[in-house]
Amino acid sequence: MKKLILATVLVINVVIFSSCEEKQIDSQKPAINLKTPAEDELIKPGTEIHFDAMLTDDLALRSYKINIHASFDGHTHSAGTRAVTDSVAFEKTWTEADFIKLGDEAIFGKKEVNLYHHHMTIPAEIGGKPLKEGHYHFIIYCTDEAGNESFLAREIEISYNAEEHLPH
């Protein structure tokens, strides 16, 4: 009886373990080195953001995206949306596909990529209304082929009093 039980246990576990052999898995997230915009950089509506970043992965990159959204009053956004009706908070996502349409090369499969774009325009107005001035989050997301994802957030400030970036 005892031997039979022990044998059953052994067989079940050997079968499970042998079917469970280690596949190589990639847990290393891609790295994002965001050079600009700098923390607290001032951006003037109607101009383009000077975006400069380096993306690296130990195996292979997949894609990236950028999102800008309001971060008024910490992250509760209430001051931005509750009282002000004559200005509009800006929110936009750019995915890699948007840049590829403009002639960029895809980063898929590469280990290291330098991004240098001039086509991220902050509109001067939305639907005839000025942009709500204040702090915004600039977030860049990056994935690798295995599905690992990293992101980096930076605070920027949208202000009509900002100086325009010099064209590069």
Binding site: I5, N67, G74, H75, T76, T81, E91, T143, G147
Partner: protein, 791 residues
Amino acid sequence: MKKIVLVAAFAVIFLSSYSQSITLKGYVCDALTRESLPGAAVVLQPVEIVTVSDGNGNFFFDSPQKGNYTLQISFVGYKPFSEDIYLESDTTIHFHLEPIYFSLNEVVVSGKNSRTSLPSAISAKEIERSFFLKNNSVNFSSSLAKLPGISSMDIGAGASKPVIRGLGFNRVVVADKGIIQQNQQWGADHGLDIDQYDVDRVLIHKGPMSLFFGSDAIGGAIEILPAEVPKENITWGDVSLIAKSNNNLLGITTMTSLKSGNWFFRGRITAQTFADYRVPTDTITYLTWKMPIHNRRLKNTAGRELNASLALNYSRDNVSSWTYIANIFSKNGFFPGSHGIPDLNRLAPDGNSFNIDFPFSTSNHFKISHETDISFDNSSFYFNVGFQQNDRKEMSKFHTHYANQPVPESNPDLELNFRLKTTSLNSRLLFDKESRWNKVVGLSAEIQQNRIAGYSFLMPNYDRYMGSVFFASTYNIRQNLILTGGVRYDLGKLDTRDFYDQTLADHLKSGGYNEVDAGFYAQRAEALDKNFHSFSGAVGVAYNLNSENSLKINIGRSFRLPSANELASNGVHHGAFRHEKGNPSLNPETALQFDLDYSFSNRVFNFSLNQFTTYFSNYIYLNPTGEWSVLPHAGQIYEYTQSRVFLIGGEVELGYRFTENFLFSANMEYTYNKNTNNGYPLPFSPPMNVLAALTYSDHGKGKLMQYSVSLENQNVMRQNRVSNNEEKTPGASLFNVLCSMNWKVNNFRFFTDFQVQNILDTSFYNHLSFYRKLNVPEPGRNIQFILKIPF
């Protein structure tokens, strides 16, 4: 399980039926101090007559019939004792109970229950109320986490949910007096809503329990059992005061019980309030920010709890019926960094560590239920019916990323509200219970309705209907060898309501997206009408080799219906910062599970080994799709997908009483798992954990009747086996001191429990914590004191 052994031992014993009157008297005292023990529960088996020792430790049973019996005696803080006796004339027996204080092995199977018990060869541990005083943590789940194989998924210092062998959320069932607790188990930031002080006995089943509990009982089931009813008319109660230094917790819980004639009444009220908890660090680093933790207190993690419950029992002859009403309310603040990207301004101290500011959650769980057990000659019938409503709110100052979203006119700061109503019915008929082969058939039904409100969206409105039928049986091959097995069939129907977010659609269209793309995101939930069915079952053997060795083996199939969010939701989860997309084509998750439980115990040494192997053919998990979500606060879209998953692991427990006074105890748990689709481990896998304790217990002098002191060392190993996009968690070694004392001043008895947890104020992480991803360490040193006064 021992229950079955007991049933087996006595089912075949013929009881002589002479109507000659005999009295059985006895006396219960402490083996060390020889002090009498009033209030000890004495059970005469197999007739299941219960009595309680009086003020002088005496008890008696009126005119039992001649025959073989077992007397079982249990008293909080003492080893339960049982003795076989043959009654043929008036008998008086003295019992000397050995104190067990609070060894980890206090966990005992006392095996007496008037309810129809569930035949299963899965190891079941019974713990009693004193466990929650001596292993007291912030709530029911985190107190249970001291047991091997159980971990706690914590949301700050207030709310937690249980995890069994790495399976949590809706892969664990908690059944409170026969009614399955239904309260948004799927959510990472929702607690369990159980008052840990309002628990008399808990049975913990590690392993597949779908045969008896249906959907979700894959990891196991935590069964909260009703109190034992004393035979004699008696009135008693107790009040406990709880204080903890780490989060300035103050709590009070008080109970009153009254037994009169056929009626038994019990009421309990618990109130707790606590401040922001302290962490042993001045800064946390999240993303690339260094965030200061002012005064080493984690801002806005304060909370409150207010619970009340009533239980009423009517017992007569062969009928025992209970009616319960309970309301559990809690309010817990969220660390401001946990919902959105943390902002330094929001982490600045507000001068008050007791206040609860936005964001916070409230949860109110109301339950009313009834259960009745009727015994006939050779069968018994049990049923319960219950209604519960969980009302959960997440409050956060109105915010939106979509400029066109208006502020709600009423209750503008209500971000999310789930009102979940569940009505359930369970019935079981046990027959041939005195024969070698006893059988039970059961029928269950459940109706559930979820309704939502709030300016955010996470989970759709839905209605769910479930029905099931099962058959299980126990066959006693010999007195020490029992076969159990059963099958179950469940039918389920889930209707989810459609939710189209017009604001989001308009926002995306104004940003240049076309109708189709905007609609993809704006359709936050699909209307689905899904029908499910599933077979589950188990077969097992329990073998008591001799009085010291026992072995149980079980193979079971368990299942879980996909939840509404897994099927239908679509959008950014504000706590996970992830775009999660439901998958309407999911099938019920099924698992095939093997469990082995070996235990050895004698007077000085005990050892147990639990081993499990689980194979899911279609485990539901969030798979990164590699496709971007265009929504703010989301990276790629994660879609619910099914995969084959293996889990293997086990627990080892040992205790060695090397002198009369010294006890060494230790336990270890380990889980290995793997998603074979992508090769990654499962998320929220508990790391290996080793807990060792050295306990000295003795009787004291003068007013101190007994005391025990323990030094505990908990080694949480590092967890490097992580799912993708999950952080590895380093290990830690923690030291605790526990001291528990029984006092008697004149005729006034009371109990004190004093603990210092995390003596060295070590900074460490719980891999399962909701705040782990923010790199928030677990609470630091805590000194806690509990005073319990019976009256």
